[in-house]
């Protein structure tokens, strides 16, 4: 079942055409890896889906229905949760406050932004969530995020995406700067999230990770989608050459000439 479909998305920053006719489909319960060199347009693509900025042209469908995503709030309401490359957490806030940022439980909701936070509920929900992702014993929901390690922060960001039962979870280089153990933790999370029925769009520069967790591979180059393959039908070398744009036949010719 198709969850998210992008059709001919275009986006320019001044004269830089960051996205040219990018199309992509994401099905229920699958992990799609989005690959491509630096500046290929991966982050731009997912920022467009998550409402960070509007697209210039193109259509987005969620569960077959055409939608317009004008703000990050729109994307969240459609069940699209994104963990951005640049950190997604506010370091000076507690874990609990970060988990519910933008969706705070409040009393007297009619007071709008002046409504008091339901701190008891906030803390309880936060520790339940931390328990669910298996880190309750170690982390205090009231601890400031600035006191956490990179891996812990990443786990918090991912569990936040999970908690709102998002249909689509987008991870932009979630294993950047992480140690070996933390990296495996994140990859395990990705599998768990998929097994729980969510769809995952994973951006990474580490092709080994892709082969560990992804079902499908989509490669971008200079704002365009240049290849789409199931993991079972391809191998590391092929993917690498597609990413760099090296023409295989040319390479072979070169090798033979030598």
């Amino acid at each position: 079942m198709e969850v998210l479909r992008l059709q001919n998305l275009q986006k320019s920053f001044g004269s830089v055409r960051a996205l040219k006719n990018a199309s992509l489909t994401l099905r229920e319960g699958e992990v799609v890896a989005l690959l491509g060199d630096n500046g290929a347009g991966k982050s731009t693509l997912i920022k467009a889906i998550s409402g960070v900025f509007p697209i210039d042209r193109g259509d987005i469908y969620v569960r077959g229905e055409k939608v317009s995503i004008r703000s990050t709030r729109d994307a969240m309401d459609l069940g699209i949760e994104t963990i951005h490359q640049d950190t997604s957490l506010a370091p000076d806030l507690s874990i609990a406050r970060n988990l519910f940022l933008g969706r705070e439980p409040v009393n007297f909701g009619w007071l709008g932004v002046f409504a008091p936070l339901d701190l008891a509920k906030l803390r309880k929900a936060a520790s339940e969530l931390l328990k669910r992702v298996g880190i309750s014993k170690k982390l205090d929901a009231d601890a400031l995020v600035s006191t956490l390690s990179g891996g812990e922060r990443q786990s918090i960001a991912i569990s936040r995406a999970m908690q709102f039962a998002a249909k689509v979870i987008i991870l932009d280089e979630p294993t950047n700067n992480l140690g070996v153990e933390e990296t495996h933790g994140v990859l395990r999370f990705v599998k768990e999230v998929r097994d729980a029925g969510h769809s995952v769009l994973l951006i990474t520069h580490n092709i080994h990770h892709v082969f560990q967790v992804a079902d499908r591979i989509v490669v971008m180059r200079r704002g365009e989608i240049v290849a789409e393959q199931t993991v079972a039908d391809t191998d590391l070398l092929t993917v690498e050459s597609i990413i760099t744009g090296a023409d295989m036949s040319a390479l072979l010719k070169e090798a033979r000439a030598r």
Binding site: S50, T72, M76, A90, P91, F114, S155, E181, G185
Partner: protein, 339 residues
């Protein structure tokens, strides 16, 4: 696997212990201790320091800068600041008095016009900072010049006699009452009421969560659907309105509106806020700290006069004490990060 990664110690009572020690180590608490020490030193050095007359004097001045400092604290927590508050403090009463004295306006209507002026100045600051993306330092510095210049121009540089007939508005903003041998102004109630409201906003309301998040990591807040620009614009407006309110209070109290009133207040207010422990870089703000900071700067300015520091040397002391406070905060911060 993630279990083995998380390394934070986890005794069952960890949160409670942590809560207590973090209060003791919090910046507003260390500021509070210093305040107590300062008060004690001044009290010992000069017996008049704690006399009813002197305390009444301090309490009369305190709200005027303190009220502005509340708005500035919220603004700084959201990662912006406003250098035009001193100028707004001067312009608002000058405009109101001109409308009343030269324009023949009713005082109530003139006050409303003053309020609208403050809202407009704050909105312009906020819109330029958020929508055009110029740093608040540059925008509000320019605004300071425009607003101060306007105050000087419309008065031709002369101070105006303020509204001195007793009436509803004067009582509301600058009425006074006696408690024993102490004389307090209604402005103190304004300060207390607004302080409680600001504490509520920053610590307990949804809005406060947003303000801290915006100052801490704006992109993260926006990615969660927090309307960062709107929040900042409203904070600029609130700060401007509070500066205008403080200006009116002051003008009513001394029965004069001077176009140069409030000169240098912007820095004094920012000093109060950061001395209290609010981070200049955003994300971490404390209203309690700001109240302590406001009391401290007031007490220092008052105390050094009493203990006989020569007038021209005041600022040396004020500057040194502020510097010492900031160094203390920085050291505590470092310590907390290490432990």
């Amino acid at each position: 696997m993630v279990h083995s990664v998380m390394t934070i110690a986890a005794e069952d009572d960890a949160p409670r212990v942590k809560g207590r020690s973090s209060l003791l180590r919090s910046p507003q608490f260390s500021s509070f201790i210093i305040l107590v020490v300062l008060l004690a030193v001044f009290a010992v050095a000069d017996a008049n320091f704690l006399s009813p007359l002197n305390i009444s004097n301090m309490m009369a001045f305190l709200p005027e800068l303190g009220i502005i400092a509340l708005g500035m604290t919220l603004l700084l927590t959201a990662g912006e600041f406003d250098l035009s508050v001193g100028a707004v403090f001067g312009l608002a009463p000058v405009l109101v008095m001109l409308l009343v004295q030269n324009g023949g306006w009713d005082i109530g209507v003139a006050l409303l016009a003053g309020l609208l002026l403050c809202i407009a100045i704050g909105a312009i600051n906020g819109l330029i900072v958020t929508k055009i993306g110029i740093s608040s330092f540059l925008v509000t510095l320019s605004m300071l010049l425009v607003v101060r210049g306007a105050a000087l121009y419309i008065t031709q540089g002369f101070p105006l006699k303020s509204w001195d007939q007793p009436g509803f508005f004067v009582t509301l903003l600058a009425g006074s009452f006696n408690v024993g041998s102490f004389r307090f102004y209604t402005s103190l109630w304004w300060f207390i009421g607004l302080s409680l409201f600001a504490i509520y906003i920053l610590r307990y309301a949804k809005l406060g969560n947003w303000i801290s998040a915006i100052g801490s990591n704006r992109n993260a807040a926006v990615a969660r659907g927090v309307p960062a620009d709107a929040v900042k614009i409203w904070l600029f407006i609130a700060t401007s309105v509070l500066a205008g309110l403080a200006g009116m209070i002051s003008a009513f109290r001394i029965s004069a509106a001077s176009p140069v009133a409030g000169t240098g207040y912007e820095l004094e207010v920012i000093a109060m806020v950061v001395v209290g422990g609010t981070a200049l870089t955003g994300g971490r703000g404390t209203i309690l700290g700001t109240i302590v900071g406001a009391l401290m700067l007031r007490a220092i300015r008052n105390g050094i006069v009493l203990i006989g520091v020569p007038g021209l040397a005041y600022n040396i002391f004020v500057g040194l004490i502020i510097l010492a406070m900031l160094i203390l905060h920085a050291l505590l911060q470092k310590n907390a990060a290490r432990s």
